[in-house]
Point group: C2
Chain length 145, copies 2
DNA sequence: GTCAGTGCAAACGGTTTGCATGTTT
DNA sequence: AAACATGCAAACCGTTTGCACTGAC
């Protein structure tokens, strides 16, 4: 799995895989590199369109898919609403609050033991990224269900 | 959280909550009680319609939602395709294979340590049911990707 | 008789696809 | 110039909703 934080690393990887470098791709990558949180495809699209209004949502989906296939970005399903995307940086996992629908990162080591146990007992190889754990964040736990 | 395996327990609970007992509800409950695996809403609908062809998908969704609200059924998002439903029987969790898209149960104790850790370090209260863990089952791990 | 529950059809959100056009290589 | 990437619009899947009607209580 890749570990990328800068645009040129991503572009480099694209070239290495004989993918073409286009304006929409540059824009998507730029958005992802500067993103502070985890973005849905729609949020990526809106930010991209702020730079290049003519880029279509389907193109953004296709680019995200391509980057995902190359392990340059990672996406995660949250059990509510759209999937979230971010660059495949330092390996981490996700949890989503069912109350406020915020997705945040947790160290993926919290899965270590569970992953070992699943492998040993079920022969199941855990993917720590593909879905976010669900529950209630500190704040929403206080408020109410 | 409820622990129900028999139709009459479910019907009982519905009465206790002043919900009406209708033919479509009986059929949905019957299907769930006899289900061997985890069913999508669509699968429930098809099985219900085998008994009562005039029951509409939206009704099935509404019934599943009602039963879910009453903690009589549980649903889980798998990171691929439709959510799966089953009776709220013995507490267990789910994992889904990204290869063959099979969802199966695992003892929810595998989460014990992780849940404690999330609570202690993040103040996050884990819901062990709402999403299924994702990965590769023994068989698909062998085959390929 | 009342109201919750239902069927239908239409809308919805998120995502994918077919196709003609444009752009990178 | 060939191949690939794009924009658009339409389709898609899973799910929710508005509404008039039916049937449980």
């Amino acid at each position: 799995m890749g570990t990328v934080q800068r645009s040129d690393e991503v572009l480099e990887a694209l070239r290495a895989h004989a993918k073409r470098i286009t304006a929409p791709k540059r824009a998507v990558i730029e958005v992802l590199v500067h993103a502070h949180d985890h973005l849905t495809a729609d949020e990526v699209t809106k930010q991209v369109q702020a730079l290049r209004p003519d880029v279509s949502p389907s193109t953004v989906y296709r680019i995200l898919e391509e980057l995902d296939d190359l392990d340059l970005v990672v996406h995660s399903h949250t059990g509510h609403g759209a999937a979230v995307y971010h660059l495949a940086g330092a390996s981490h996992s996700h949890v989503t609050c069912e109350g406020c629908h915020t997705t945040f990162e947790v160290p993926s080591e919290i899965y270590d033991r569970l992953a070992r146990e699943l492998l040993a007992t079920q022969g199941f190889e855990l993917n720590r990224h593909h879905v976010a754990l669900s529950g209630l964040c500190e704040h929403c736990r206080g408020s109410h269900s």
